[in-house]
Amino acid sequence: GKAQKVTFVLDWTPNTNHTGVYVAVEKGYYAEEGLDVTIIQPSDMGADAMVASGAAQFGVSYQESVTFARAENVPLVSIAAVIQHNSSGFGALKEKNIRSPKDFEGKKYGGWGSPVEEATIKYLMEKAGADPSKVEILSVGTADFFQASSSGQIDFAWIFEGWDGVAAKLKGIEIDYIDLGKTDPVFDYYTPVIVTSEDMIQNNGKMVEAFMRATIKGYLYAIEHPEEAAEIFIKAVPEADPELIRESQKFLADRYQDDAPYWGIQKKEVWQRYNDWLYENGFISEPIDVEKAFTNKFVE
């Protein structure tokens, strides 16, 4: 029969977190499942509202974002963890000498303006015995890490190791990196994740299954053949820096699945821990029912 139209919304610009999906498109895995997938690049409002409202069927999000969404009764469900462990953290140019949360004191942090960042930094500094009131938190919005730090506007920022970290290496810029996932288990949450709506799962389960079958194939391919996957991605997204893609792809190949039994699996305790932390810090007024926030049904 005719292929079913499916819209997949990214979280931001295409990057190596999305390689599996691009591979599945290019290699025809979706077509085999009878799906015609369109990939959309959104603004920094992200994919959540679009997926929840049914404007798109699937999208990329983060555990944090799904938690906020569910706290506001937005019917979003995470159906796969793209990367097993949080691969983001705090980066700073070498000369800034920021190697642990202790060193945040007296420095300028450049973020995207979310209160969660502030709370995270505060939490880490307190834990390390530093004075959180001594860090200056600035919002740089869409300005990027390198621009902001080398122009002296900020000292450190929240970066993705597999992207900004790799880019730094390529540019020959030396940086220090504090892996957030390793600082405290609570911060080893899932980012990014693939999401869909409750409505899709209830009324269109077949499509979700088909979509995920193909997506899994895509990511497994990326895990096994990082070089080929990188080339496929570069072909699909020629606007990005090819060198950066290749290096980033190499970096991520082992981290998609990492120590998990299979790609995409999500653990309840990870969801519960972070949910509790958000609740304790007052970001959500009610703890959410984490069982409903994610499902492994489609990756098992």
Binding site: D44, M45, D48, A49, A52, S53, S65, F68, A69, A71, E72, N73, V74, W112, G113, S114, P115, I137, L138, S139, V140, G141, T142, A143, D144, Q147, A148, S151, Q153, F283
Partner: protein, 249 residues
Amino acid sequence: MDWLPVGFSLAILVTWYVVVTWHDVPEFILPSPVKVIEELIGSWDLLLEHTLVTISEAFLGLFISIVLGTAIGFAMGYFETFRRMVYPLFVMTQTVPLFVLAPLFILWFGFGILPKIVVVFMVCFFPIAVTFAQGLVQSDSGMDDLLSVMGATRWKIFRISRIPQALPHLFSGLKIAATYGIVGAVLAEWVGAQKGLGVFMTRAMKSFRTGVLFADVLIIVLLSMLLYKAVEWVERIVCRNITNGGKIT
């Protein structure tokens, strides 16, 4: 006070309310106006705090735009060569997508109030300068001739005839600037700031509080309309004499 648009707006609000409740539209797609008002009242103190920041940025930016816009608009009207030189460049600045440039402004000007003022200026300067220049350029040559026979210098011709005649134009530019001033500041904040309605907005958006987002937008709209009305009021006072009788030339 003209009640017609007020009534019309109310009608739209009611329709909005009815549609939203009737079709049971989820809040994150489109909150009902009642919800928006609730959020407005609920987050009042927080909103106020952010609003004050935005207002101060917008006002400073507008002030500078008005001063420089009028001055450069005048220079463009007065010096033909200057106009020919810079006018296409000014048009160009308007075709540059600001939401792309705004992050660079942060790099260039830091995180303080400066990049916000620059964005407001980029948005508001152009309409003021251009409308004023256009008003100054179109002239009644007979009147100019007469004044020059009276011994008026170019400057006096402008002061006596061209500037008054250009004032209604200038005010239409000022009204455009008033319309966009607040939005400009919000855009700048949205791209990177610590406080202000733009920051508040991104936060509301990220936490799916569309009701609060709309309350935020509502404040922006009300502020802008207030500014607009203020300019209109000044215009009425300043141009009363000029446009009296309905015809300026």
